[in-house]
């Protein structure tokens, strides 16, 4: 089953071509790394999949459907920026997610909150940046979604939390779901990925499984990435 697909997808902002003729297929059960330097179009691609942008041409499909309220119920999205209302408490946000997403697992969220030591009655405003990111990830990973779209999920957290997050992803991930992780910190996530998509200047440069890359090139994806995107 294909959970996420882009067909000849293009998007530009004024004169800037953010994505050009992108074709990607993500099957269920796969963890895919969307890898590329800053400004390569990763965030634009993920925003298109969430219906936060409208394609100029081509299409984005989630479970075979164009983005809309139905697909949003299937997608769990972690934006690359703090997006939670500052005045709300962690506990209130859990209730909020529970209210809007039928697939939200409140028990799991509360468990993760306590295991990561986040006080549930503290407002987002009063939390450090790292703690805010933890809350975001807890909310996103506590859903039993069909497609997880994680935009730079481990950018600002400490190594212990990063390990916890990757562990959570591996442990809770259901075989009918797919995960797309956009990042430039490849070595940290390489081991949990099935496939990678290299993207640069809005174009897909390479789409392959991690083990194929290692077999063919005799080097890690991280090393290959450094070679391909050498400055």
């Amino acid at each position: 089953m294909v959970n996420f697909e882009c067909r000849a997808l293009s998007k530009n902002f004024g004169h800037v071509q953010a994505l050009e003729n992108v074709d990607i297929r993500v099957e269920s059960g796969r963890v895919v790394g969307l890898l590329g330097p800053n400004g390569s179009g990763k965030t634009t691609l993920i925003k298109l999949a969430n219906g936060l942008l409208t394609p100029d041409s081509g299409e984005v499909l989630i479970g075979g459907m164009a983005p809309g309220p139905e697909t949003k119920a299937m997608v769990s999205y972690q934006p690359d920026r703090p997006y939670l209302p500052q005045w709300m408490k962690a506990r209130e946000l859990i209730k909020f997610y529970e209210d809007f997403y039928p697939d939200f697992d409140t028990a799991r969220a509360l468990d993760m909150l306590s295991r990561l030591g986040v006080p549930s009655d503290r407002r987002i405003k009063q939390m450090s940046k790292g703690t805010q990111e933890k809350v975001q990830l807890i909310l996103v990973m506590s859903r039993r979604a069909r497609l997880y779209l994680l935009d730079e999920p481990i950018g600002g957290v400490d190594p212990a939390t990063r390990d916890f997050i990757l562990d959570t992803i591996l442990r809770n991930f259901d075989e009918n779901a797919s995960i797309v992780i956009s990042t430039h910190l490849i070595s940290d996530v390489e081991k949990v990925l099935d496939d990678v998509v290299f993207i640069n200047n809005g174009r897909v440069m390479l789409q392959s499984s991690v083990d194929d890359i290692r077999e063919r090139n005799g080097m890690s994806v991280d090393a290959l990435f450094r070679e391909v995107f050498k400055c």
Binding site: F13, L52, P69, K72, R81, P85, F96, D99
Partner: protein, 274 residues
């Protein structure tokens, strides 16, 4: 889903609106007490405080509508067009629900602000004497009786009241939607989002005025050309009144519909979060 959205909308806006509305009541209550104290004493401090409170009260009444409007427009921007938009636009709800949630809360709070002003007048006049209420009811009854005597019955008055209420509500919706449309137009660009929004706000106002003037000129010339055998009777005057009010209702409704379509179109197809 709209109900859930409304729940959070009232929670979020209530944090600002409730204190504002309560503050007005508090000021009028304090003013009431101070006025009573000055009636019995001659202290300069107390009369200064009373003067300040009276000034504050008048300012608060003048400002409360503006404060409410600003708070509600800011809420639209903050919740849908800034970073929080990433949360709201990925909820499994339609853009229509998102906009209606904002509109309904705005209408409710603006009406609440109006009622709050009325209530504050009562607080200012407290303790109320039962006699005043009786006198007021009697006065209204008298007005109704006199109107009935010239042939305007209660149904007629109710119809007028309803038409006026409709115009007020449609007007509130319209004034909110102008801001919403301007903000969603301005924020569809990648840069200078706020500056462009302000520009679009004035542009919409300008276009609206031109359209209204042209319509009025059109109406005038049409009426000018037609032969009227208008016999002035009470009935015809009332009908003209209804026709005018309904005409205003319809055109406001049309205006609201255009802006609503504009807002939802921009948010659906041209969303461009920062």
């Amino acid at each position: 889903m709209l109900r859930k959205l409304l729940k959070y909308e009232f929670k979020a806006t209530g944090r600002v609106m409730l204190p504002v509305l309560l503050a007005l009541l508090a000021v009028s209550g304090l003013l009431n007490i101070c006025v009573r104290v000055t009636e019995h004493s001659e202290g300069t401090v107390i009369s200064f405080v009373t003067g300040m409170l009276a000034f504050l009260y008048v300012m608060a009444i003048l400002a409360i509508g503006v404060v409410a409007l600003v708070a509600l427009v800011y809420r639209f921007y903050k919740n849908l067009l800034s970073d929080e938009g990433y949360l709201m636009f990925t909820l499994p709800v339609s853009v229509h629900s998102l906009v209606w949630a904002k509109l309904i809360t705005a209408i409710v709070w603006l009406i609440a602000a109006f009622l709050d002003i009325v209530l504050s007048l009562f607080v200012l006049a407290a303790p109320l004497r039962l006699g005043w209420g009786i006198e007021f009811v009697q006065f209204i009854g008298q007005v109704f009786d006199e109107l009935a005597a010239v042939g305007i019955n209660g149904l007629e008055i109710a119809a007028f009241a309803l038409e006026l209420l409709l115009i007020v509500i449609l007007g509130i919706i319209g004034s909110c939607l102008v801001f919403y449309t301007a903000l969603s137009l301005g924020h569809s660009f990648s840069n200078h989002k706020m500056l462009l929004s302000v520009g679009f706000y004035f542009a919409i106002g300008f276009v609206t005025q031109i359209v209204v003037v042209m319509l009025l000129i059109g109406l005038g010339t049409t009426l000018d050309g037609t032969e009227f055998n208008y016999v002035y009777t009470l009935r015809s005057a009332l009908n003209l009144g209804h026709a005018t009010l309904l005409g205003i209702c319809l055109s406001t409704l049309l205006y609201d519909a255009v802006l609503y379509f504009g807002t939802t179109f921009m948010l659906k197809r041209r969303l461009n979060l920062p």
